[in-house]
Amino acid sequence: MSAKRQVSDMATIGRVRWKRLAIVIAPAVAIAAILISLTAEGAIAANVSVSGQQFLVTATQLNGTGFEQFGSDVTSSGSGTQPVIVSGIGSATLNSLCQAVKAGPLTMRLTAGQGNTPVQATNLIVDASSLAGSSAEFRGITIGQDAGTLTATPGTAGATGGFGEQAATITIKNLVQHTWLTTAGTFTLPGLHLSFGGSCP
């Protein structure tokens, strides 16, 4: 008998009980708000990996240790195979990070690290179609090494035979990158601010 009752339960038209909904939504939203505020304070690291149409990343200063760079390409859904410059940084700090991501008709602008506390990222890997800076300083640099033998950023290396370079530390001022793919193992985003529309300076 109980089995047959189940049949009816499955088949019964139902509706959403709003009080019941509130029981779940209220604590969920509260916890999410706590998580968001902790992230905006830089207390919690977020995991970021975005890809897609070219988007813009700017920062007033990038400091990194364990830097390597090599050429590669990405196959994008929109525009076929694109050559990219892959930069990997083992650990990086970025001042006044701004990232403009295009999602369909919307442009989302994410800013963080505007104040004294910079954004911190580990295992930051960026596939960029172009990269520019007002000045750059590399320490312990090797240019022209085989891309397959790069060791500065563990776990990341290019194709064997390719042209690569690596450096122990790197500093780039006024970084502007057009990237296809950005990923970081962890990203602390103090002063996180997300807005729609607009672009990065």
């Binding site: 189940q6 009816s8 088949a11 909904l21 977020a46 196959t75 240019i143 090494q145």
Partner: protein, 457 residues
């Protein structure tokens, strides 16, 4: 069956286009009934949220780009994709197996919250909000008839003697509908029980929880449809795990598409270019003898090179075509160390000239051009200042000293340099103009660059 009860204008248009009215109406109605007998919108929102979470890291790159992304992000980033996959699974299961809607709904809400730190800030909030809303709706969805009388259940569709409570605000205009699934004949139930028995062989002695196990609708077997999703999610996880474990031994090999792993010709890339002890002030050395052991183990050939005065570097030179040009180059304490056999990734060596200097300042539209696999990467800067025991290897170096323009190659470097410097060898400061360096391999304590621009095209 109450068909064509509420023909809406689009429906009429559709029918006018020549569709058979009966089946389409029946289809429409059964779809509607299917939708209303389960927390469909909750499941849909949850699934959409999961799709959005997966789409952000993966849409832009296909093929090996996507695989490389998974390698990059490693096990931590795979969680982001995994959370999206789990959300889709929960969304599908909510629709397929609404009896477990509470568990799937709560799981969806928890996954939505987790996605904020784990997956691009919850897909830039959108996926997180969709998941919280969808999971909440699935949790809050309740059947209208709280305790249906068994006598109502067993009956032919349309025979129901007990319509829905007319005072219930939720019934609305659905009064004319039959709310019951196709009645399962006892034989069908028996078959399903047999399937249950088969299942219980795997999980013995599971107590029958009322209202969960023994759900005979057979719908839970449709839950198997979610298995491919889970499989896909776990497959996505595997390369990340492999990349993570492979990370410490990255120098040992290079993997293409995770499948073809080539053994590296240079087993242990030791850090840092060690300056050669014989490099101070000595004159040009005769070029290193061609190493006979070239096809042998690459480590062997490297050690052979080390015994020569102009030793190769402890690293592997790129074979991609590369050129650095500059308007002028000023080299302090510039010394030609001789020709060296520099190992390359294919196991062979390439003969290069080795120079050392305490500093090397390039200026005047410094351009580094790299061509590989049909694409070009160009780095430009007004100045490149290398300092701190600069070591330069190159297959060809050309430039002008005043009006005298020369091209150095490993074969003629000694004679040309002697001519260029008027017999002086050893430490000197040299300023060359119109400098071009082929296949450069540069090591330096530091590099200061002016306005830097890199472009791939």
């Amino acid at each position: 069956m109450p068909t064509n009860q509420e023909p809406s204008p689009p429906f009429l248009v559709w029918r006018a286009a020549g569709e058979r009215p009966g089946p389409s109406g029946a289809w429409r109605e059964s779809w509607q009934r299917w939708r209303r007998t389960r927390p469909f919108w909750g499941g849909l929102l949850l699934g959409l949220g999961g799709l959005e979470l997966i789409a952000i890291p993966l849409t832009g790159v296909l093929g090996h780009g996507a695989i490389r992304l998974v390698i990059y992000i490693g096990i931590g980033g795979v969680f982001g994709v995994l959370i999206g996959a789990l959300m889709i699974t929960c969304g599908v299961l909510i629709c397929v197996n609404p009896a477990h809607r509470i568990f799937y709904g709560i799981t969806g809400v928890v996954l939505g919250i987790l996605s904020f730190p784990a997956s691009n800030l919850g897909g830039f909030f959108i996926g997180m909000l969709l998941a919280i809303a969808g999971g909440g709706i699935a949790f809050a969805w309740t059947p209208l008839a709280p305790e249906p009388d068994p006598s109502v259940v067993i009956g032919e569709p349309g025979e129901s003697s007990e319509p829905d409570d007319p005072t219930d605000p939720g019934s609305g205009n659905l009064k004319g509908y039959t709310y019951y699934e196709e009645f399962q004949p006892p034989e069908g139930l028996d078959e399903l029980d047999e399937l249950d028995d088969l299942d219980e062989a795997d999980e013995p002695d599971q107590p029958e929880a009322p209202g969960e196990s023994g759900t005979p609708s057979g719908l839970r077997y449709l839950g198997l449809a979610a298995v491919p999703l889970l499989l896909a999610a776990s497959l996505l996880g595997v390369p990340g795990a492999r990349a993570a474990t492979a990370a410490p031994q990255q120098g040992a090999g290079s993997c293409i598409l995770l499948i073809i792993c080539l053994p590296s010709p240079n087993p242990s890339p030791t850090p840092g270019p060690s300056p050669t002890p014989s490099g101070t002030g000595t004159g040009p050395q005769p070029s290193a003898s061609p190493s006979p052991g070239q096809p042998g183990p690459p480590g062997k050939s490297r050690h052979k090179g080390k015994h020569r005065t102009a030793s190769g570097p402890d690293l592997v030179a790129a074979t991609a075509s590369s050129v650095i040009t500059a308007g002028s180059a000023t080299l302090d304490e510039f010394v030609y160390q001789g020709a060296a056999n520099v190992p390359t990734a294919d196991g062979g060596t390439v003969k290069m000239m080795k120079f050392t200097a305490t500093s090397m300042a390039l200026s005047g539209d410094v351009t580094a051009t790299v061509r590989q696999r049909g694409s070009t990467a160009v780095t430009t800067s007004p100045t490149f200042d290398f300092t701190g025991s600069v070591v330069l290897y190159a297959t060809k170096l050309s430039g002008c000293l005043g009006a005298l323009c020369v091209t150095l190659t490993p074969g003629n470097a000694v004679a040309v340099l002697l001519r260029l410097t008027g017999g002086l060898t050893g430490q000197l400061t040299l300023t060359l103009t119109h400098v071009t360096t082929d296949q450069p391999l540069v090591m330096a304590g530091s590099l200061q660059s002016g306005r830097l621009s890199l472009r791939a095209g």
